[in-house]
C-alpha cells in the first residue's frame, strides 16, 4: 500500500480547489435530487438515495482506518449492525416498557437513539479493535472478519431480540418538530447527518492526528521510530470508525424499519470495502462516490436480471485488476494520466 500512495505534497493545492468544486456540485445534486425524482415520476429514487447516503456514512468511516491508516478491516458490518440493533432494542423496550439490564431504558427519540448507537458501537469497536490491532496485514483482515462473524452469530443466537428473524421497528424514531415518517423529511435528516459526519472526518483527516494516520499507512515503523505510539492512534481511529458505522447502522434501522443479523453479514463488510476502494481510498469524498456507484450498479443489474451477482462479481474483479483506485483511478486512466 505504501508504494502506491501518492506523495501528499504533490496533491495539496490544486486538488483542494478541485475537491471543493466537486463537493459543491455533489451537494447541489443531492439537494435537487428528491424534487427531480418526483418530477420524473420516480419517487422511489429518494429512498434509494437515502440508502446510498447512509451507506456512504459507513463507507467513509471505514475509509478513515482503511484508506488513511492502511488498516483493512473486513468486519465493518459488525459496528454497522450493532448501531442498528441499538435502535431496534431501544425501540422494542420503549414499546413494551420492559426494563433493559434492570433499568427502565428504552427510547424512540432519534436524539437519544443515534448517540446511543454511536456510543455502543464505539465501545464494541474499542474492545475488538484493541484485540485485532495486535495483528497486522493479512492477519488483521482475517481477524476482523472472524470477530464480525462472531458478533453475527451472537445476534443470530439472540432469540430474545428476534434471532435470525430480526426485529421490526413499527415506527421510525421521532424528532421534535419533524415528521420522520415522511420519506423526504427522512432524506433531509440523513443528508444533514452525512454532511456533518463528512465535515467531522475532514477535520480529523486534516488534523495532526490524521497526519499521523497517513504516516502509519506509509510506514508504521518510521512513525514508531519518530517516537509516535502508533497503537494508540490506530485504536482511536478504529473507535471513531466504529462510531461512524454505528451511526450509519442506526439510520439504516430507521430507514428500513427493520433490523436483522443480515446487516452484519460478512458480505456487507465486503461491500463497504468495495465502496471505499471503488470510490478511491484515502480521499474524503471517494467513499460517497463508491457507495453511489456500487449501490447504483447493484440496483441497475438487479432490475435487469435476478442473477445480477453473476455479472457484478466479474465486474468487481475487473475493477480491482485494471483500475487502480477505482472510479477515480478509472477517471485518471481515461484522462490519460496513466499509472496508479
Amino acid at each position: 500500500m505504501a508504494e502506491t500512495a501518492p506523495n501528499p505534497t504533490q496533491r495539496s493545492k490544486p486538488k483542494n480547489v478541485r475537491s471543493r468544486l466537486l463537493l459543491a456540485q455533489l451537494l447541489v445534486i443531492l439537494v435537487v435530487l428528491p424534487y427531480l425524482a418526483n418530477l420524473i415520476g420516480q419517487p422511489a429514487l429518494t429512498s434509494l438515495a437515502t440508502r446510498i447516503i447512509i451507506l456512504a456514512i459507513a463507507a467513509a468511516s471505514l475509509n478513515l482506518i482503511m484508506g488513511y491508516a492502511g488498516l483493512a478491516s473486513f468486519g465493518h458490518a459488525a459496528w454497522y449492525g450493532i448501531g442498528a440493533y441499538v435502535v431496534g432494542i431501544l425501540y422494542r423496550h420503549s414499546v413494551s416498557g420492559d426494563p433493559l439490564f434492570g433499568l427502565p431504558l428504552g427510547a424512540d427519540q432519534l436524539l437519544i437513539t443515534l448517540p446511543a448507537a454511536i456510543i455502543v458501537a464505539g465501545l464494541f469497536a474499542a474492545v475488538f479493535g484493541a484485540l485485532a490491532l495486535r495483528t497486522s496485514g493479512v492477519q488483521f483482515i482475517m481477524i476482523t472478519l472472524a470477530f464480525a462473524q462472531m458478533i453475527f452469530f451472537f445476534f443470530v443466537a439472540l432469540k430474545a431480540y428476534g434471532g435470525d428473524d430480526g426485529l421490526i421497528i413499527r415506527r421510525r424514531n421521532a424528532l421534535p418538530f419533524l415528521d420522520t415518517r415522511d420519506g423526504l423529511t427522512f432524506y433531509w435528516i440523513c443528508l444533514t447527518v452525512a454532511v456533518v459526519w463528512y465535515a467531522i472526518l475532514s477535520r480529523i483527516v486534516g488534523s495532526r492526528f490524521g497526519r499521523v494516520l497517513e504516516g502509519i499507512r506509509q510506514s508504521e515503523r518510521r512513525m514508531a521510530a519518530m517516537g509516535v505510539r502508533t497503537y494508540g492512534y490506530k485504536l482511536v481511529a478504529c473507535i471513531i470508525s466504529g462510531m461512524g458505522a454505528g451511526l450509519a447502522g442506526a439510520l439504516m434501522a430507521n430507514h428500513m424499519r427493520f433490523v436483522s443479523p443480515d446487516m452484519m453479514h460478512w458480505t456487507q463488510s465486503g461491500e463497504f470495502m468495495f465502496m471505499v476502494i471503488l470510490g478511491g481510498s484515502g480521499t474524503l469524498l471517494g467513499p460517497a462516490f463508491g457507495a453511489a456507484g456500487l449501490i447504483g450498479l447493484e440496483s441497475l443489474l438487479a432490475a435487469w436480471t435476478e442473477n445480477w451477482q453473476v455479472i457484478l462479481g466479474p465486474l468487481l474483479v475487473l475493477a480491482i485488476l485494471f483500475t487502480r483506485g477505482g472510479l477515480s483511478g478509472l477517471a485518471r486512466m481515461i484522462r490519460g494520466g496513466a499509472r496508479g
Binding site: 483493512a72 495486535r134 452469530f153 458480505t267 468495495f274 466479474p314
Partner: protein
C-alpha cells in the same frame, strides 16, 4: 463417556476437514503471498461436482475423481485468469478480487443447480459403524475422513520436505526472485501450487458432501472458520494449520455438544440456557482465537520462528 469419545472423534474429523482447507490456503499464501477467499468456492465446486457425478453415475470413485478434477481445473483457471495478476498487489486487492469471484461462483451455482441443497448418500461400502472401544460405535465414513485427512497431511509433509517440487516450493516461499533467477519456471510452479491448494479444498468438499448438505454458501461458512484456524495456528505455517485445525475442530464440536447440558444444570430456565449455550458455542472458537491472540499475537506456531 461414550458420548465424549464420539464427540471428540467428531471434533477431530471436523479438524481434519478444516486442515485440508487451511493447508491449501497456507500453501498458496506461503509461496505466492496471495490470500484467496475463493478457496471456499473451490470447496463448493468439489462438493457439487462429486454430488452430481455420484447421483448421475452411482459411482463414488468417479465422483471423487470428478470432484478433485473440477476443483483443480477451476482452481488453475482462476489462477491463470485472475490470481496471477494479483501477486504484486497488496492483500486488500486480493481479498476484494477474490470476493468478487465468490459472488460469481455462488450465483453461478444457483443458476446451474438451484437453491435447493443436494444430498449425497454415504457410499454403501463405507456405510455402517465400527466398534472402537467397549460399547462405543462410530460411523465408518467419519473414520475414513479422519484417515484421508491424516494421509493427506503426511503426503503434504513428504511432498514439501522430501521431493524436488517441495524443495522448489520452499525455495519459492523464501525468495521467489532467486528461484526465478536460477531458471525455474516460477509461473508454472505457481499454477501447480494453486491447483494443489484447490485440490485440497475440493477434497474437503467431496468428503463433506455426504455428511452435510451440498448447498450454495457452504464454502464461506467453512472459509471463515478456516481463517480462525490460520490465525490460531500462525499465518503461513502448515504445522500451525494442522494444530490450529484440530484445536478449532475439537473445541467447536465439544462446545456445541456439551455446553447446553452444562448450562441447563447451572441455570434455572431451560430455554434461556439453550439460547445462551447456542450463542456461546457459536462464538466459542472466536473467543478462543481472541485468547490466543492475547497470549501469542503471531499464533501458536508461526512460520518463521
Amino acid at each position: 463417556m461414550a458420548l465424549l469419545i464420539e464427540q471428540s472423534l467428531n471434533g477431530i474429523q471436523l479438524g481434519f476437514m478444516l486442515f485440508l482447507l487451511a493447508a491449501g490456503l497456507t500453501l498458496i499464501f506461503g509461496i505466492m503471498g496471495v490470500i484467496n477467499l475463493a478457496q471456499g468456492s473451490l470447496f463448493m465446486v468439489g462438493a457439487y461436482a462429486a454430488a452430481v457425478v455420484a447421483t448421475q453415475t452411482g459411482s463414488y470413485v468417479l465422483a471423487a475423481i470428478a470432484g478433485l478434477a473440477a476443483a483443480a481445473i477451476i482452481g488453475m483457471a482462476m489462477e491463470y485468469l485472475v490470481i496471477r495478476r494479483l501477486y504484486a498487489r497488496d492483500h486488500l486487492d486480493q481479498v476484494l478480487a477474490t470476493f468478487g469471484l465468490i459472488l460469481f461462483f455462488n450465483q453461478m451455482t444457483v443458476i446451474l443447480f438451484g437453491r435447493q441443497p443436494l444430498f449425497v448418500r454415504i457410499p454403501p461400502l463405507l456405510d455402517g459403524s465400527v466398534h472402537i472401544v467397549a460399547g462405543v460405535y462410530y460411523p465408518l465414513y467419519r473414520l475414513v475422513i479422519i484417515g484421508v485427512g491424516l494421509l493427506t497431511a503426511l503426503g503434504l509433509y513428504i511432498l514439501i520436505s522430501r521431493t524436488r517440487i517441495g524443495m522448489l516450493i520452499r525455495a519459492g516461499a523464501t525468495n521467489r526472485e532467486m528461484v526465478r533467477a536460477l531458471g525455474v519456471d516460477i509461473r508454472l510452479l505457481y499454477t501447480i501450487v494453486f491447483g494443489l491448494g484447490a485440490m485440497l479444498a475440493g477434497l474437503a468438499g467431496i468428503m463433506t458432501g455426504p455428511i452435510s448438505a451440498v448447498q450454495v454458501g457452504m464454502g464461506e461458512q467453512v472459509l471463515i472458520l478456516t481463517f480462525v484456524v490460520i490465525v490460531i495456528g500462525g499465518v503461513g505455517s502448515i504445522r500451525g494449520a494442522f494444530v490450529g485445525a484440530l484445536i478449532v475442530g475439537i473445541v467447536d464440536t465439544l462446545l456445541r455438544a456439551f455446553l447446553p447440558t452444562l448450562l441447563r444444570h447451572m441455570m434455572a430456565s431451560g430455554s434461556e440456557a439453550d439460547a445462551l449455550a447456542g450463542g456461546i458455542s457459536a462464538m466459542g472458537v472466536y473467543l478462543l482465537m481472541a485468547i490466543v491472540l492475547l497470549v501469542r499475537p503471531k499464533g501458536l506456531l508461526p512460520a518463521n520462528g
